[in-house]
Symmetry: C2
Subunit: 183 residues, 2 copies
Amino acid sequence: MKFCSECGQQVTHKVPELDDRKRYVCDSCGVIHYQNPKVIVGSLPVWQDQVLLCRRAIEPRYGYWTLPAGFMENGETTLEGAIRETQEEAGALLKDGTLYRLFDIPMINQVYLFYLAELQTPGMDPGIESLEVRMFDEADIPWDELAFPVMNDVLKEFFDDRRKNQYPVRTGLPSFRLKPAAS
Amino acid sequence: MKFCSECGQQVTHKVPELDDRKRYVCDSCGVIHYQNPKVIVGSLPVWQDQVLLCRRAIEPRYGYWTLPAGFMENGETTLEGAIRETQEEAGALLKDGTLYRLFDIPMINQVYLFYLAELQTPGMDPGIESLEVRMFDEADIPWDELAFPVMNDVLKEFFDDRRKNQYPVRTGLPSFRLKPAAS
């Protein structure tokens, strides 16, 4: 951030009065521009014994497989966001959904929320963000071609939980460490 | 948003190519300024049979009682944020904590995450954001003087769950409807 989005003047990076960390502050109009983590909403779509994955048609990780997920938008709930992303990336409709996994990724200022959900029908249709959409049995999951470490984690947890038929909500960091975000 | 935070030129509110909703776009440098929901992290701090509440020394809802909660910061996990807010607003230290409640508040573009946590000690010390910090038995909770509807909801759910000694993670809207956010 270089300029104030309210008045267009240059901003300063400094600790505001009564605060304890640096913010972008406009010395001209006084506005403090807070920057906060973003929420990624996604789904783990299930049909009978299979799980839906999309092959990415966009960077980063073009050509790799992913669960449907993307930035949460203003004006929607987390579940509505997960349903929307599933529709956009896979052309697939979810039946409701229950919160299943929260990943904290402080290194890149993100919180991932995955909903576990049954598909309404096995129908699907890749959107412009996907090269391909397919249902996978556990034995066929392309573990080495998954786009992001959180996908490996949540899929492994899901198949473990399915064997126990218990799906507790899990939280915490992904098992793979990412590089710190540029500050 | 009126000006581009990258180059300082005026922004336009329009639907970018391949998108389906209006964004603030800089026609000068091409940057699209996405706006996304913010995460509020909080705790439900417990000591023996009592729950900690803070009386707000800041607007909105000056003088009303609240659980410790505030905007999640970049570079922290959701639990670290909940612990930080509890320390800042109540001077109280939490023992770990487990995710207990997610509130979607799409009308104001917020996601609340509450962690249920025991206090390390019954010690507390109001920070500059609190007039007073106190432990409450269920019978003494000031239900009509709570700062926000989510506080009524999560406290009611907690006392109900405590009677059953089961604390499932709950999700969804608060029971009180808020006015829509200004767009």
